[in-house]
Amino acid sequence: MSEPLLDVTGLAKHYPVREGLILAKQVGTVRAVDGVSFSVKRGETLALVGESGCGKSTTARLVLRLIEPSAGTIRFEGADVTRITGAAQRAMRRRMQIVFQDPYASLNPRLTVADTIAEPMAVHGIGDAASRRKRVEELLSLVGLRSFHAQRYPHEFSGGQRQRIGIARALSVQPDLVVCDEPVSALDVSIQAQVVNLLKDLQRRFGLAYLFIAHDLAVVKHVADRVAVMYLGQIVEIGNKADLFANPRHPYTRALLAAIPHPDPQRRGQVKPLGGDVPSPMNPPPGCRFHTRCPFAQDRCRSEAPALRPMADGHEAACHFAETLPPAGLDFAGGLSEAAARRLALYARARAA
C-alpha cells in the first residue's frame, strides 16, 4: 500500500505538576497523552473521538508541533519531523494546517478578512501582494463567502461565516493535511451541517487529509473514514468507521455509542448512562484505565494494562475480553419516519431547484 501521509508512533505529552513558589518541587505528572500511535493516508479522514480531558486536542497540537512531545515520533511522508527546526520546520508547517474550534477566539479582531486569509501566504513567502489578493478572492468563493467580505472585520460575521474564514485561511497555503479541532461543536445545528458539507466538499476537490477531532460520534460517523477512540490519553479502539460502528469491541466505545440520544422518540429510554467520572490523568488507575467504570471489569483488568490488538474484522481494540464480551445490543436501525423522509426529499428537491 502507499505510504501514509502522517505516521505517529508512541506519541506522549507529560506535564510536570509542581508545588511551592521558589523550589517548585515536582509532585506529579499529568499524562495528557500517553503513547498514541496512528497514521493518516492521503485524502482520508481519521477522527479522534473522546470526552473532555481524553487528550485528543493535545494530540492534535503535538502532531503540528504547536507543543513539543515528551516522547514518540511523528513522520510526514516518511520523513521524521519530530525534531526538525528552522526552515525545514516552516516548510513542513505549510503542508499541515489547523482549523480551530472557537471561531470567535481564533480570528484576530484587528485584521480584515483579506489580511487574515493572506497571512499564512505572507509568512511562507508565497506570491506577491497582487497574486495573494487574487488568491484571497478565490478562497472566499471556495468557502461560500463573497468577494466584498474581504475588507470586513471578524465581528461583522456570524459563527458559521467565521468558521468559513478559518477554513479559507487554512487552505490558503495548499496544505496536504488539515487538523480540524472540533470545527463544528461551537456552531448551531443548521450551520454545523453547512460547515460539515463544506469540509467534505473541499476534501473531495483537493484530496485533503483530515485529522478530525470531535466528541460527537454522529458527526464522526458522517465525516470519518477511520475512527480512533481515546480515553485518558490512550487510544482504546481504532479502525474503519464501518467496522467500528457495526461491531464496537471496547466497552468504552460501546458506552459512548449507547449514551447518544437519538432524534426519534420511539426509541426513548434506550440511552444507557455510564457510571462515574473520568479519573484524573495525574494518577490514572493501574491496569486498564477504564476498569473503574467498566461493567465487565475483572481482576486481570485491575493489574494488567491491555494493549491494542487486532480483532477479526481488522480493527483494533485494547481490551482483554474484547472477543468474549456479550453482543453490544446497540440498535441504530430505524431512521426517519416515512412522512419525515418524504418531506425531506421534497425539501432537498425544492432547495436544489
Partner: protein, 328 residues
C-alpha cells in the same frame, strides 16, 4: 381540557436599543401540563432563553415583558409584586442553567449555596436542620458521599457533579416547575446521559413539570412529551414529541431534522438550511423563515402565518404545510 400548570399567552418581551424596540419573544402561547415535560427547540437567537427568563421575571434592563400573561396554577406571575415573585422563585418555579461552572459561586461551599435558598424561604430553620435537608437534597441527585460534598467548594467537583448540585439547589424547595435551560450542553455525552436519567427519575418522584430548553433534537426526543420549535422569537411548530418527529410539518423543523447527522442513517451530504437566523433588528417581513425556506411563495413574503392546527394536537405556522400538498 388538560390540567395545565403553566399557561403562557401572547407573551412579548422587548429590548430597548438605539434603533428602537426589538422583540426577542414575539407573541408566544404555550402551556405545560402537570407532571409533563415541554421541550423548546431552536437555534441561538430564537428567543428560547429570553422566554424562560420572562417566565421567571428575570429579564434584565433594557429588556421588559411588554405584553401577555404567564399563569402558574391560575395565578398571573406578571402582576405579582417583586416580593411575591421572590417567594414564587425557588419554591414554585426553579431554574437550572447551561454552565454549571459559572452558575455556582466559587467562594462558598456547596452546602452554603444549597441552604441559601432554604434560608431565604424559611428564616427560622436551624443550622442542623438545614444541613440535613441539604444532604437529603444531595442524596436525591445521587451524589456519592453527600456529607463530604456538603463542605466542599465547586472547584473540587467535576462538571457533571456541579450540574447535580445545581439541580439539588433548584429542587431544594420542591418547586412545581423546573426550567432547564440547555442543562446538558456543556457536558460530555456519557455525563449528559446520567443527568437526563436523573431528571426523569426526579420528575417521577416529585411529579414536577419541566420546561426543557435545548438545541439538541436527540435530547428533546429522549425527554419531552410535547415539543415547541421556535424561530426568530416565535413558535413555528408545536406537537406531541411523537408527531413532531414522525410527522414534521414546518419547513424549519424539516431543515433541523435534515441538518443533524444520524447514527442510523448514512447520507452523502447533510441537508443544511441555507443562510443563518436573522438578527431581531432586521427581521424579514412576512414569515420570518421565508428567506431560508425552499418552499417560499410570494404570499410568504407579505403575511406572517399564524400558528394553525394541522392535525390532532399539532400546530404549525406555515402557509405551505404539509409541504407535499403543494409540491408540483
Amino acid at each position: 381540557m388538560t390540567d395545565d400548570l403553566l399557561r403562557i399567552d401572547g407573551l412579548r418581551t422587548v429590548f430597548r436599543t438605539h434603533g428602537g424596540e426589538i422583540a426577542a419573544v414575539d407573541g408566544v402561547d404555550l402551556s405545560v401540563p402537570r407532571g409533563r415535560t415541554l421541550g423548546i427547540v431552536g437555534e441561538s437567537g430564537c428567543g428560547k432563553s429570553v422566554l424562560s427568563l420572562s417566565v421567571m421575571r428575570l429579564v434584565a434592563h433594557p429588556g421588559r415583558v411588554a405584553a401577555g400573561h404567564v399563569a402558574l396554577d391560575g395565578r398571573d406571575l406578571l402582576s405579582l409584586s417583586n416580593a411575591e415573585m421572590r417567594d414564587v422563585r425557588g419554591s414554585q418555579v426553579a431554574m437550572i442553567f447551561q454552565e454549571p461552572m459559572t452558575s455556582l459561586n466559587p467562594v462558598h461551599t456547596v452546602g452554603f449555596q444549597i441552604t441559601e435558598a432554604m434560608r431565604a424561604h424559611d428564616a427560622r430553620a436551624s443550622k442542623a436542620d438545614l444541613r440535613d435537608r441539604a444532604i437529603d437534597a444531595l442524596k436525591r441527585v445521587r451524589i456519592p458521599a453527600p456529607e463530604r460534598r456538603f463542605d466542599e467548594y465547586p472547584h473540587q467537583l467535576s462538571g457533571g457533579m456541579r450540574q447535580r448540585v445545581m439541580i439539588a439547589m433548584a429542587l431544594a424547595c420542591k418547586p412545581k416547575l423546573l426550567i432547564a435551560d440547555e442543562p446538558t450542553t456543556a457536558l460530555d455525552v456519557t455525563v449528559q446521559a446520567q443527568i437526563l436519567d436523573l431528571l426523569r427519575d426526579l420528575q417521577q418522584e416529585t411529579g414536577m413539570s419541566i420546561i426543557l430548553i435545548t438545541h439538541d433534537l436527540g435530547v428533546v426526543a429522549e425527554m419531552a412529551d410535547e415539543v415547541a420549535v421556535m424561530y426568530a422569537g416565535r413558535v413555528v411548530e408545536r406537537a406531541p414529541a411523537g408527531a413532531l418527529f414522525g410527522d414534521p410539518m414546518h419547513p424549519y423543523t424539516l431543515g433541523l431534522l435534515g441538518s443533524v447527522p444520524r447514527l442510523d442513517e448514512e447520507r452523502e451530504n447533510l441537508l443544511a438550511i441555507e443562510g443563518s437566523v436573522p438578527p431581531p433588528f432586521a427581521l424579514p417581513k412576512g414569515c420570518r423563515f421565508h428567506p431560508r425556506c425552499p418552499f417560499a411563495v410570494p404570499e410568504c413574503r407579505s403575511e406572517q402565518p399564524p400558528l394553525r392546527p394541522i392535525a390532532e394536537g399539532h400546530q404549525a405556522a406555515c402557509l405551505r404545510a404539509p409541504v407535499e400538498a403543494f409540491a408540483a
